[in-house]
């Protein structure tokens, strides 16, 4: 391990005490040039000499142990790793020089970095608040309720001029009460948006695509129709033959697990890793077919979608819909929907029947929204081992955070502790609504010795009223009084003041 740059601290302390390098060298019994080297971090010191330096400069023995410096260097390394552009990225070792020679600059950089992180948190909170804030949700409900009462009573009063005095007085009182309530709600909303000049309109491309998929309930009829028109034999050999015969693209297996998943335009060869499972092979080939033959269907779905404001958003949406088309080919709507209902969404049974992976199946479940042939409305999310949500598809009443993690009590995180075991839970949210949640953590299959294979967990969730359509709810008490885990959306938005699992303060506590 490189030595820690503590020379600057020795030099600063010596100067503060008005001691010269020569005097310090005399006290320590070493040469002046050696002191100079130490102060410029050209020599690392430890043990007895370090203790003597601390003593001579009247410092606590631990003051020169370099812990502070280590912390600063770690944070500088984080800044370097996060800076944009490979070429402009500072070299990690230069952080040590910066700290040794310009400590105030290093500290100023850290202050800026921390302020940046804090501001990002604020933006994330505001963005979450705009997208799925329960305060907004509750306020809109209250406004609608007041508006309903006012409209109905006002019509009654206008309609019934001969109403008796007592009844009329009662309805007048209702109008008065609801008008007051409406004004209270307006004030609550105004408070929630205090300081609302903050610009949170800058949605990222993934967020644009999230909104696009959500507003269309993740169902795209033009792509379903495209897949049904093709009615392909989804056997791997048949798909390979179509790519070769129609597009001159040959399929080759490669030992390179990171081979690009688009054909090499020069050789017209699609390289797929040897480690790819049959489900992945089928999906990749179907994706290629959509990219070559389904561009009109993809373009028809994207059309002039207002959510896709940026070129990056449209490009990302194109990729997402190409993958959607592949799923529609590999798991054709009508037979898949029928089998899913008949097998009660049994993922293992459907995997056997359709030769698809659990993740492909779960994705496809969320797309079963065809009018007249709807599946269970599912939310889906995928979390990595660090707790971050790496894929999300929410339901109207089951919001999912866009940033960081969800409530740590969601079963998706518990599933991480016992990979391969499917866990089913009933979760109750602070507003009393209940959801059925099903999660399993898996590790990618190994294709060589020594690979890092971090697990990720996949979760499906549906409103409790649909849970009896799932094989996984058998044996659970789905009634309103049955056992349920008390959970929240995210800590930031959760009003459960007594929760011992809270990771950050809530904007819902002490603000109403």
């Amino acid at each position: 391990m490189a030595s820690l740059p503590i020379g600057h601290r020795i030099r600063a302390r010596r100067r503060d005490l008005g001691i010269t390098q020569t005097a310090l060298a005399g006290t320590l019994g070493i040469s002046v040039s050696y002191v100079n080297l130490i102060e410029h971090d050209k020599r690392s010191i430890g043990g007895a000499l370090l203790n003597r330096v601390a003593e001579a400069l009247d410092l606590e023995p631990g003051a020169l142990d370099g812990v502070q410096e280590r912390r600063i260097l770690d944070e500088l390394a984080e800044i370097a790793a996060g800076s944009a552009g490979e070429a402009a990225r500072p070299r990690p070792e230069s952080a040590r020089d910066l700290l040794a020679r310009h400590e105030p600059w290093a500290r100023a950089l850290l202050s800026l970095h921390r302020a940046g992180i804090r501001d990002q948190g604020t933006i994330a909170a505001l963005s979450n608040r705009l997208n799925q804030d329960p305060v907004l949700d509750a306020s809109v409900n209250d406004m609608l309720a007041s508006a309903t009462a006012i409209r109905s009573v006002a019509d009654i009063l206008a309609d019934a001029p001969d109403m008796d005095g007592v009844q009329r007085a009662r309805f007048d009182a209702i109008l008065q009460e609801e008008a007051t309530r409406l004004s209270d709600v307006a004030q609550t909303l105004a408070r929630a948006f205090e300081g609302g000049q903050t610009d949170v309109s800058g949605l990222t491309a993934p967020e644009e695509v999230d909104d696009f998929l959500y507003r269309r309930s993740n169902h795209f009829p033009a792509l379903e129709a495209f897949a049904e028109r093709l009615a392909l034999d989804t056997d791997i050999a048949a798909l390979a033959e179509r790519l070769e015969a129609r597009h001159g693209i040959a399929l080759r297996r490669t030992a390179d697990a990171d081979a690009p998943r688009a054909p090499d335009p020069r050789t017209r060869t699609l390289f797929l890793p040897e480690s790819a499972t049959p489900a992945t092979l089928r999906f990749e080939m179907a994706r290629r077919i959509v990219a070559l033959e389904g561009t009109d269907a993809v373009a028809a779905e994207i059309g002039n979608a207002p959510e896709l404001a940026s070129p990056a958003g449209r490009e990302r949406a194109t990729r997402a819909l190409t993958a959607y088309g592949a799923a529609a080919i590999a798991l054709p709507y009508a037979p898949f929907h029928e089998a899913a209902e008949a097998l009660r969404y049994d993922i293992d049974a459907l995997a056997v029947r359709f030769g698809a992976s659990a993740e492909q199946l779960c994705h496809r479940f969320t797309t079963l929204r065809r009018t007249g042939a709807e599946g269970v409305p599912f939310a889906m999310l995928r979390a990595n081992a660090a707790g971050y949500l790496t894929k999300r598809f929410p339901l109207p009443r089951l919001p999912m955070p866009r940033h960081g993690g969800a409530c740590p009590l969601w079963v998706v995180y518990a599933a991480m502790q016992t990979p391969d075991l499917r866990m089913a839970r009933i979760a109750e949210f602070p507003n009393g609504e209940r959801f059925f949640m099903l999660a399993r953590a898996t590790r990618p299959p190994a294709s060589a010795y020594g690979q890092t294979r971090p697990a990720h967990a996949l979760m499906l969730a549906c409103e409790i009223v649909h849970a009896d359509r799932l094989v996984y709810s058998d044996g659970l008490d789905l009634s309103a009084t049955g056992r349920a885990d008390p959970v929240g959306p995210t800590c930031l938005l959760c009003p459960r003041a007594a929760c011992t699992h809270r990771q950050e303060a809530s904007i819902r506590i002490g603000t109403s």
Binding site: N141, T148, A149, S152, P396
Partner: protein
Amino acid sequence: MTKRILIAEDERNIAESLRFLLTRAGHEVSLAADGDEALAMLRRAPPDALVLDLMLPKRSGFDILKTLRAADETRALPILMLTAKGQANDRRTAEDLGVDAFVTKPFANDEVVETVARLLDGGGHG
């Protein structure tokens, strides 16, 4: 002929205005302020029609709807669902669970009174 209507609605001012409207239309009206009370009243004395709010405390409108459709004696009970969230998903879920009609708040008084009348006459969807 007088029909008995149960209104399950936790917003008491909306409930009161509905009670007035349906009483004026010649019905006998009772009120339940939460999901549990509604279910208890439904079991004690099944009405001729139910006006059911979706977002009820203790037990949601969906939950009540599902319970009623699973029991022989209430399988055919005409049910009008009210919601402050007129989202397509809510409507679809309610229809999947067997609701007869669906009205979004804020409603027009005539819409509720006429829909209840239609349900009592044996008219379902549409």
